[in-house]
Amino acid sequence: MAMASEAGPASAELGPGLSEPAAVLAPAVGRRDLPYRVVSSRVPLLTRFLRIWQSRELLVFLIRKELKVKYKSSVLGLLWSMVNPAIVLLVYYIVFKYIAKNNTPYFALYLFAGLLVWNLFATALPGASSTIVANAGIVKKVAFAREVLPLSQVGTATVFLFFQVIVMALFLAGFQLNPAWSYLPLVLFALVDLVLLTAALAIFVSAVNVYFRDVEHLVAVLLQAWFWFVAIVYNYDTVYAKFVAHHLRWLAAVYLADPIQPIVLAFQRFFYGRVFVTVPIPNYPHYTVQVLAGYSYHFYVEMLAGLLVASLAALFGALVVFGRVEGNFAEEL
């Protein structure tokens, strides 16, 4: 270069490594002399976690993008995410109160408590299964922690969950019903489990779908079947009582081992809150069941703690699988 021009405004700043202490969660010593990054076929799990953690702002932007794109150029915009569940809940209320009579009181609220959990699970997974393929454009051209793509689907579904909870709260207030406030810590615990479990499955299916494109269809079908294995539309106790009546206690244990089940139970326990309501079972005149599972607080905590361990293990497994196949995403797409 023949002539050295005066430095422009851009170069007047500090070097890129020194200007932004918050940008990377590297140890403080790592910033001053520049951080190393190694590209190879094996990336340690800890490094991967760190990269995902460093991409949390990207995750927020991706979630924001999903929300914006979903309600683009609609008049109500984000309000739809509340109007939609509100109308659904209203329809349930009318249907189960006047048309398909159900002897569970406030059945619509019971149903909706379970659906809060299921909706998160069932919107995140199909979205996640196709997300890597759908975002092939950036996966092939930009280096970033690809795990944030399925995670953003989980995040978006979680945001929708909060809108639905607001709707639920409005209905509870409308009927002057109280949730079981003492179970609030429990439902938050269950929410953590739910997000971790969904994240683990989301990461797994998003990676596998790159190689087997049937996974996204398989996920949709499996979710439909799975829905009826979980006590959302019916009472947990009804099924449990039938297992007991047929001396199949082990099946009851298997039934409870469905990872979504304890989460649904915890949500119902908090939002519906009416433990001691009993209803008769048709064709079993000697039995009455509670609408909710009659488990103690302590048992709930144990179940959710067990699920937490299982979800974390699943998350580790999913990250290992994802890391194995990630290196070939760019060429498989």
């Binding site: 170069s11 190879s40 280096a143 970033f144």
Partner: protein
């Protein structure tokens, strides 16, 4: 000097499937066996790039240069070997990759910047600068789907350069926008160079390489051909091109019998009186190198066979560029044609005191004519010679040049700022 990018024995295997089975059913039906061939896009590539250097990666299509760039960027992982990158890295492989058409330009700046590794605070600080550089002040809150392709690419470039990385990877995307914006882009890259950032550029344009690179890595079929100065590397690249591509053999148009139909043959009837046997390019140091440098002397020796003694023979020499353009053509001086030639083998030696050509591989055509101008024999591409320009000039011809700069206010003493070809 510190190493910014260390490429350590990187190999990348691609599986070429004869039939791509992406559904579970197809895999099951074929018993899990998917026929494939291994294809090594990169084969043991090693290189060190010092901090602050600009490296060019040159190669033909399919030579693995983009794969290498993606390995450095971390978009694909090498099958074996590793790349150590020191400092923050940004890759410009495709401008505006990941733009969401439904979102506004501003939202896309945040999303794309975040994707490239900027924090929200950094983007907050830079967003005005990005908009200004992209010249999109009026449209920044418009949805990107309404942008023209030029606006789209300008925004992509502006976001990409705002990362201010320690290592910048560029994949032939500098040619964006109109001419004025292109100049801005090149200015920005040059500023990056002055700031001491490391830049890696992939291109198949030797001119761009010569212009901006300190070092050039030439790849062929996934292997490193050379890592050297631009001039030397470009020569090696051209040589590879010539070796693998279509190289016409020295092509002799035999005289001999006319066609059965009596079609005109542009040679002397019957057996030619003068046959051109060979042409050889000769220069100092031919044993060590296969090229001359711009400005060096060159000699072309042509051997010919005279059947019957004759006079008035003239030789024509033409230097042909790779594109088939005649760079130079001339007849041997008339004075020489008066010399009587006996039967037998003789030599005509064409001596150039200086070859002012810049880079390239040049063919030599020789023609022998009799006194009346009728062609006796032709030797197309009788030999080749290569020229390597050690300097940074571009074009066809080297024109020795000095630059004198008189700064404003200094009236008398002009000082030479530099001399280059």
């Amino acid at each position: 000097m510190a190493v910014a990018v260390d490429i350590q024995g990187v190999s990348k295997r691609f599986r070429i499937y004869h039939q791509k089975y992406t559904s579970l059913k197809e895999r099951v039906v074929h018993g899990g066996h998917v026929p494939y061939d291994d294809f090594w896009a990169l084969d043991g590539v090693s290189a060190e790039i010092a901090a602050g250097q600009t490296l060019g990666i040159l190669g033909r299509n399919g030579s693995g240069k983009s794969t290498l760039l993606k390995c450095i960027a971390g978009i694909i992982q090498p099958t074996t070997g590793q790349v150590v990158v020191r400092g923050q890295l940004a890759a410009m492989l495709e401008l505006g990759a990941g733009f969401q058409p439904e979102l506004s330009g501003r939202d896309n700046i945040y999303l794309n910047g975040s994707l490239l590794g900027l924090s929200t605070r950094e983007i907050d600080r830079k967003v005005d600068e990005i908009v200004e550089f992209a010249e999109l002040e009026q449209f920044i809150d418009t949805q990107v789907k309404y942008y023209s392709s030029g606006m789209y690419v300008r925004l992509g470039f502006s976001v990409a350069v705002s990362v201010e990385p320690d290592v910048l990877l560029v994949d032939e995307v500098l040619a964006v926008g109109d001419e004025r914006f292109q100049q801005k882009c090149i200015d920005r890259v040059e500023q990056f160079q002055r700031d001491g950032r490391t830049i890696i550029v992939v291109s198949h344009s030797p001119d761009l390489m010569r212009d901006i690179c300190d070092q050039v890595l030439v790849l062929d079929q996934g292997k490193v051909v050379t890592l050297s100065s631009p001039g030397e590397a470009i020569r090696a690249f051209r040589q590879r091109l010539a070796e693998s591509g279509f190289v016409p053999e020295p092509d002799r148009l035999e005289g001999g019998e006319p066609d059965a139909e009596g079609a005109p043959v542009p040679l002397a009837r019957q057996r030619p009186q003068v046959r051109l046997l060979s042409a050889v390019a000769d220069y100092a140091g031919k044993e060590e190198r296969s090229y001359i440098e711009t400005g060096e002397p060159l000699r072309i020796d042509v051997t010919f066979d005279v059947a019957t003694p004759m006079t008035g023979v003239q030789f024509k020499i033409a230097i042909i560029s790779e594109r088939g353009q005649i760079v130079y053509a001339a007849m041997s001086p008339k004075a020489l044609s008066g010399m009587p030639l006996d039967a037998g083998v003789g030599t005509a030696s064409f001596q150039f005191d200086t070859v002012p050509l810049l880079d390239g591989r040049f063919g030599v055509n020789i023609e022998a004519r009799d006194a009346s101008g009728i062609t006796l024999d032709l030797l197309d591409s009788g030999c080749y010679f290569e020229v390597m320009d050690p300097g940074r000039a571009m074009g066809i011809v080297g024109m020795p040049m000095r630059v004198e700069l008189v700064p404003p206010g200094v009236a008398t003493e002009a000082q030479a700022a530099g001399a280059g070809r």
